[in-house]
Symmetry: C3
Subunit: 322 residues, 3 copies
């Protein structure tokens, strides 16, 4: 939708692979979402549960992980799954590895956006859709193909690209949403940039305060669930998926690909490491550093974050020492 | 001043309340500032000292807290004080719960701002006042009714609303000042946004570095005192009041309603929890998490922050363990 | 280069200093870079190794530190070296203590930038140079004398001043680069702002994600080395010098004047204190607070950061206590 796709067949991509029925690759998707004609990948034991859920017929994986995949799946075994993915993505998608500024940006044509109010100097890319009664502040930039729902309020100096935004969403001044995330293959003198073909999905009733950055997904999407509120200067990395009714205080940071449940509250400046699963109704204290999965209904605090009760006991004990 | 107020009488608001002398509600104010015709509220035992200082005749409070209020004050006892306040504020004030971008923004009329220098593409709302010899950088937005003093330098891409700014103030590029804070009543599927009728007050000689966010007060004001300096990416939540001559390093975050004394220095990335009182001449080490009040002249560090001496001892002991 | 310099002789500056051969002061430089006609300074024992490397003939220093300087160097002994430097810098340089917005900003003249693509509303100062095939996003501001190399992609709403940028550099939306750092002499009621005459140097292949702030050097330069990648909302203070091939995750903060080696990776939200030396190939865990120098090849974590093994042991032990 946001990135141009070339039509390439599996055989064309992997001439040496033994494939009975060659097919055109429809897309590259995470295991759980991959359909029959999608290529998928398995690079982290954390996603073992997903191998049986995939409809994909071809999976890029490593020597170590290939045994967990069902027999019927054709394996492309490589040393570095992300490096391989990066190469394949660059062959299939154009301009997903660098955020070239949208060349189609123009002042909005008011006849086209009949029930939308625009501030001054707004720039809109081609095929942008904005629902009725939405308001766009001054100096805001909305790049091509972005969709914004009804009754949204977008502040001044906001930059949105590669994103789908629901209804009744508030985005305050100067947020940056949908840019490429921090993904690359480290190589001396010239890293390889990992293409980001995912998007940002912001569901209904969400509020995002000033100066937040929400990166789009690399292959998966980045999602902010219904009625979740983010305070100022929050950083949401690529592929992070936050559930509904969450409350994320100022300067919280999410590393890539973590999944946050519903009704989670996170105190200011807390950090959530990458590839974690945080349950529903979890409370994370301000300044905490979460480095492990958290089950539903837990209250945690500390660096690294532990159950609040233990954190209190530990602190008391430490203070007794003195 | 920044938000339109409707004239409503106490009886009109609370028909069932036994009031001898009905009156028009002048404003809604915190206990210590509330005058005779203001409505006030008491929702946190931390503000117990203020109940005797108020001139208000009517106070919204909870079952538990009502006993601390003087007899002469009429109590509106509710389950959730903030929820009640939110309802009342929405009845009295218009558009204080969502930051609708200012529709009056225009290029500055130079004859009106005779001794002010403007960069390119500056946007100014109606009734903005800017003192002589002040300079406003390019792409900066100053919304209606904001006042800026003399000899200020405002950088590029700054967004200011609902704020009073003193003389000789420096605000570097891309700061966001005066937007609504992170306040709402959590409700599944559709939170209630708490109206913010306060402002930001920045006193003389203040310097604020790039990319800071300073939210306006909800009912109280957010204040940055005389000659206080903020480094890049500092986050100041609603109602925070920082004294004079303070030094706040990069990426520090203040949760709502904390009061910081004079001559306080705070190291980079430290976090100050909400509703705290930090004394004068306090030094807070970088990366600390302050969760308790701090008396004058203390030096603290750690997460949670403790006296520096104890922090050092604790670390030594912990290392001895190894 | 970025700041206008007045021609002042040493005698003119220090009439009471016994100088055999008076000379015009060429520049003010750190010890290791100061040439024959430059003034230098020595204010921190950490820079003791540099006193023998300087070609400067005159050094501002303190009573305590003067003994470490070679005999042949004329010492200007003062109570507060930074205060003295601040005064001298203000005499020699104009407008380096406050970032007055560039008055020369204009829409780019396309005939002058033949092989550069510009978005809408770009503002460029006088004598800016941009290499071929570079792209500048909309609403971006590039102040006078900035140099940008070939094949760079600068996003939307970026603000660059006092900077030299190499080839193949990516700077994502809304970064602020080259502004004055957080340096001042604290004085009640009216701090003295420390002039910043340094610049930002960004080497080739660097990628800087959204919303980062990189302050220019005070007397030294701020440097981001070749092929180093910064994630969103990173804060780099004045004089920080980061080597090549580093990986700096989101919301990391560097206090002033630290030197980071090559191939260093730093996890999200970590903080690096000022004036530190971090070796090559160092790995710093997310959320760490680094307060001491780190040798090559170390892996550290914690607050304060210690070797990862010790951090793990300490945590295990602490948990056993419970």
């Amino acid at each position: 939708m946001f990135f141009k796709k070339k039509k390439i067949s599996l055989n064309n991509l992997y001439p040496n692979l033994k494939v009975k029925n060659n097919f055109f690759i429809e897309d590259i998707k995470p295991l759980r979402f991959a359909k029959k004609n999608d290529l998928t990948f398995f690079d982290n034991i954390k996603y073992r549960d997903e191998v049986d859920k995939t409809d994909s017929r071809v999976c890029i994986t490593s020597e170590k992980l290939q045994k967990f995949l069902p027999k019927k799946i054709i394996k492309v075994v490589v040393k570095n799954v992300l490096f391989e993915l990066s190469k394949i993505l660059n062959k299939i998608y154009i301009n997903a590895d660098i955020d070239f500024p949208d060349k189609s940006l123009k002042k909005p044509v008011k006849s086209y956006f009949k029930n939308v109010k625009f501030g001054n100097n707004v720039l809109i890319g081609k095929k942008v859709k904005i629902g009725k009664d939405s308001i766009i502040g001054s100096n805001t930039i909305i790049e091509q193909n972005v969709k914004i729902g009804n009754n949204c309020v977008i502040g001044h100096g906001v930059i949105i690209k590669n994103s789908l935004i629901g209804n009744n969403v508030i985005i305050q001044d100067n947020c940056k949403i949908g840019q490429k995330g921090f993904g690359f293959i480290p190589i001396k003198k010239n890293n390889i940039k990992f293409p980001h073909i995912g998007k940002v999905k912001i569901e209904d009733q969400v509020e995002i305060a000033s100066g937040c950055t929400i990166d789009r997904g690399s292959i998966d999407d980045t999602i902010i669930g219904n009625n979740t509120y983010l305070d100022n200067q929050v950083h949401v990395a690529h592929n992070v998926q936050i559930g509904s009714d969450c409350m994320i205080a100022g300067q919280v940071g999410f590393a890539g690909s973590s999944k946050i449940g519903n009704n989670v509250s996170i105190g200011g400046q807390a950090g959530i490491s990458g590839h974690l699963k945080i349950g529903n109704n979890v409370k994370i204290g301000g300044g905490s550093g979460v480095v492990k999965d958290i089950e539903d209904n837990q209250v945690v605090m500390g660096y690294p974050a532990i159950r609040l009760k233990e954190f209190m006991k530990k602190n008391r004990k430490n203070n007794d020492h003195n």
